[in-house]
Symmetry: C2
Subunit: 204 residues, 2 copies
DNA sequence: GAATTCTCCGGCCAGGTGTCAAGTTTTCTG
DNA sequence: CAGAAAACTTGACACCTGGCCGGAGAATTC
């Protein structure tokens, strides 16, 4: 046993490794990211990767879980700051746009992994976990929007998330394909769709 | 030059090859389908694959394009047969459910390829083509639904497709993950969402 | 200061990859 | 039926993959 808290150091190393790996994964995608390529695009040797991770899947799953942590609070600022329903929609749409611009590689990796999980069983559980987290995140936005609009959610969280995720995915693909209008389209779509997610609140 | 129409025979062979390949691709996904595996799961040798296709990408793209042809008319029967708005929704939801049950491998391959196209530029064009075809297919459903409901579409085709595709994707993943309720959830969601896609027609 | 544990390197392996050139069989033509 | 052209098979190639291991070096402990 080492000095202060060796397990923390070990974890810190894993995190650093994972962060490097995430860059490569976001660039090349799951399939074409070899452990060697991941190691090459990092300050680490390929042997050290195996020292900290049992195998490739272990690394990937760790990375995915780590990525989740980044996402979890992304839209909460927009939710907290908004004082009107329209303002919330605008802030939310802006954040969505921003994440596409700034983190396109991470998001395409996410969609890649979710697609892979349809083939690779061992990916399903982490993917499902993240999907639930994203659903909750979206749901917080919807609930707050309903409050501000004096309405109540008209659809279950699962459905609302599925719809918004669908148009977000379109926008990401469009953006990556060089469609300059994709981001503006996304903004318009969010403005169109959000009102559909709520209905006038029932009188009490 | 051969007997009747050698180019037709050549194409027929490519089609047969592609159909075999599609089975393997649907089973293993894009990344893990090697040309040898594809050949092994077919009456062909692995060299003949290369005889008919320049390289792996050529084969994949051909397969994807071929798959598109299968999809194109899938919901048209439901559209043509429906006489009421609710009947159309039910038929549409039923067809969606049916395609998940019967063609889950093909659909997960589609989502796999679409995700890959975010990394691999040469996949973008065929993916975009198919995406447009699917959008048109969905749009025909929406337009007919609006007619039957005495309403008009409330959202652009792109948005309507994105929303429905999102919940379809969720249902597919859920179904593949062994969630027995996924298909019923999809049906309910379609019933919930379709009315949101139209609004009362403007008086003329 | 010696011993032990942890960390890390880099080469090795068996297996799989896409690709292709050289043959072999089949098919059709003259 | 001979011969040419097309269709196909086979085996080999250079390369890359994930996983493994021996041992060097540093850190820590006794």
């Amino acid at each position: 046993m080492a000095r202060a808290n060796p397990v923390d150091k070990h974890d810190a190393r894993r995190r650093a490794l994972a962060d490097s790996a995430l860059r490569t994964l976001g660039e090349l995608g799951y399939a074409r990211s070899s452990l060697r390529e991941i190691a090459n695009n990092s300050p680490f040797s390929h042997g050290v990767v195996h020292y900290y991770f049992a195998d490739k899947l272990d690394l990937i799953v760790y990375c995915v879980r780590r990525y989740k942590a980044v996402c979890v609070t992304r839209y909460d600022g927009a939710v907290a700051g908004a004082t009107t329903a329209d303002g919330l929609v605008a802030a939310f749409a802006g954040k969505l746009r921003e994440t596409i611009v700034e983190e396109a590689p991470m998001h395409r990796l996410w969609y890649d992994l979710r697609a892979q999980s349809m083939f690779e069983e061992s990916l399903r559980e982490p993917v499902e976990q993240i999907d639930r987290t994203l659903e909750e995140m979206v749901w917080r936005v919807v609930v707050r929007y309903a409050e501000l609009a004096g309405a109540e959610p008209a659809l279950p969280p699962h459905t609302a998330y599925g719809m918004l995720d669908g148009i977000f995915q379109q926008a990401l693909l469009g953006h990556l394909s060089g469609d300059g209008a994709a981001l503006d389209t996304l903004r318009d779509e969010v403005h169109d769709v959000m009102p559909l997610l709520v209905r006038a609140a029932a009188r009490i």
